[in-house]
């Protein structure tokens, strides 16, 4: 455990390691519980025993069909999307050195939204499965454009990235509205996708982006030790021998892959990427070697609980998960605001 050598003397090191393991186990437990709830609850509640039977193929009938046919894909997608968003948020905050950065502020969601709306309008698409690659391309295009704007002397300037991303996002949003206003059918199709939702998507939506998502995760985990050095500022990081430019570039690619995959599957879901790191930081501290895996758990935990909540509040109908996260995220941000600044 060379990692925690700088910790408090005597009891510090083993105690902290113990605390971290406990917290990770508690997090995993909560995630399991959430997964179970996500399988069981909804317009039609299914007892947990039936859920397990259905999963192992021992049960048949309508309840079992609901679980395996609808809720299982939805839950699996929720886990993947939540993990991708959580990790992307942690990495985005580290590379921009800005605690308010998230995939949204880099223009990723807006880029995906615009691409999908154009695709619906021009190619007359009407099925979320068909949107996947357009969304991914739009997200990647916007994020790469934002990063290109922020490039200076071969490096990405964090201030420019934040400014450029925000401006890009506003422009894309206004274009999205313009396209939707030109065509009633586009408006009708797109507004549901734009709210961000996990429902009505078969697992086929997830398979195409699984490789990019996995690649993004691997990169994010690989650069996480170096992200700690970035927090010290570029000069100090450089002095420590960290290749700042390459790390920031790799982090940027990871964010694009992760958030692009997420938005391709579920549409734009705000706040998970922002909230997950802020939830994990007080528990595990600012060390990215813990923070990034922590967000890997916290992201899906937040997303699944929001989704389950969305199914319960206006039964038998349901709220799109993107709307639920925005409603929950806003007070969280206000709380955050009260904590900072004396």
């Amino acid at each position: 455990m060379t990692a925690t050598q700088r910790g408090a003397p005597t009891t510090g090191v083993p105690f902290r390691a113990f605390r971290h393991i406990t917290l990770f186990l508690v997090g995993l437990g909560a995630l399991t519980l959430c997964t179970a709830l996500s399988l069981a609850l909804g317009a039609r509640s299914v007892p947990l025993s039936t859920v397990t039977d259905a999963l192992f193929g021992d049960a048949h009938g309508r309840d079992a069909l609901v679980v395996t046919g609808l809720r299982l894909p939805r839950t699996v997608i929720g886990l993947a999307v939540g993990a991708a968003l959580g990790v992307a948020g942690a990495v985005a905050q580290a590379i921009t050195r800005n605690p308010l950065a998230s995939p949204t502020t880099l223009g990723i969601n807006a880029g995906a939204g615009f691409a999908v709306v154009v695709a619906i309008f021009a190619l007359k698409l009407n099925d979320p499965v068909e949107y996947v690659w357009f969304a991914f391309a739009g997200a990647a295009g916007a994020a790469l454009f934002a990063q290109a704007l922020a490039r200076r002397a071969g490096d990405i300037d964090p201030v420019r990235l934040a400014l450029g991303g925000t401006v890009l996002q506003l422009v894309l949003l206004s274009w999205t509205s313009a396209v939707m206003l030109m065509n009633q059918r586009t408006l009708d199709e797109a507004r549901f996708w734009l709210a961000g939702s996990l429902s009505g998507r078969p697992l086929d939506v997830l398979w195409p982006v699984l490789p990019t998502l996995m690649l993004g995760l691997v990169i994010a985990l690989a650069v996480s030790p170096a992200l700690n050095a970035l927090a010290l500022g570029d000069d100090s990081a450089q002095a420590l021998g960290v290749p700042v430019t390459r790390i920031r570039l790799a982090g940027g690619i990871a964010v694009v892959l992760l958030a692009g995959s997420a938005v391709a599957v579920a549409g734009p879901v705000a706040f998970i990427g922002l909230a997950a790191p802020h939830l994990v930081r007080p528990l595990l501290g600012g060390d990215h070697r813990l923070l990034v895996p922590g967000c890997l758990i916290a992201g899906p935990l937040l997303l699944l609980s929001a989704d389950v909540l969305g199914r319960l509040v206006i039964r038998p109908s349901e709220l799109e998960v993107g709307i639920v996260t925005a409603f929950l995220g806003a007070p969280l941000l206000a709380l955050l605001a009260r904590k900072v600044a004396r």
């Binding site: 400014l163 709210a195 941000l333 600044a341």
Partner: protein, 346 residues
Amino acid sequence: MTSVVRKGATSRARLRRRVLAFTATGAAALFVLLTVSLTTGEMSIPATTALRALVGLGDPGDVLVVQQFRAPRSVAAIVAGAGLGAAGCVLQRLFRNPLASPDVMGVTGGASLGAVALIAAGASQTLIPLGALGGGLLAALLLGVFAWRSGLAVTRLVLTGLAVQAGLAAAVNLMIVRFPAELAGSALQWTTGSVYGRTWPEVWGAAGAMVLALTAALVLHRRLAVLDLGDDSAGALGLNTSTARLQLMVIAVVLASLAAALAGPVTFVALAVPHIVRFVTGPPTAASLALASLTGAVLLLASDLVVQHLLPIEGLPVGAVTATLGAPWLLVLMFRQSSPVQRSHA
């Protein structure tokens, strides 16, 4: 003594000339744009006839078209643009943040929600601007309640503003998703911003209030300048910083809400105009606040003309045009400012 006089001093005379030239250009542009907006349309009217018709002279048909259809729309664009420009100017200085704008404070979200809620309730067209005004003010009140904690600190204001905006935007989004398709369309149209279909009572009411708010902003400009020095210096100069910040915020919110009532939440005018003005006239003064109003009016009127006459598509929101026109400018100007020389002093 190292009294090395560095380069970069802008002589006052040169600066004053630049301000005057900019003002004259702006005023001329506004006049030309106004004339164009009155003359062009389905029925084109010669400029002199249009200007005569504006004051009620000439052919009754021309008078009707100019006075009842074209003029209210143009004046609405001018008034709303002026308010947005000044509001952006005040907010960016108050928040010490180049990205501050009514969007960041939740005013836009509040105005959208107010209007969309009235659209949902099936209220008449004339009530919707009032809904927007009320929504914007309510959002600002919400912001004040959440952010006030024995004073208004800047960081807390910015973050709380983002939170309020996000929550209200989510509510608008919810309504748009839940609405039947036709209503969703008119709601979306409204939330992107448009000066289409404004009537004289609305325009005059908003214009009167706007003049009052702009005057208040100019009168309190000295306080704004002292606040720029930071809370410690401002306090030592005898300014009650929290009260002054509150007064100025209220003014900015009123300006932005009035604009939103007339034109909907048009993005980018409030964001881009202060940067344009600063680029031309240098350090912010009371004059640059007035110039921001002028520039905002020109920008919004020009954008509205583009929407009406230059684009082949019907019913495009003016907000999409201001965003498209404003973004490249804004990026160039902001990147100029965040050059390493400047930031090393920050």
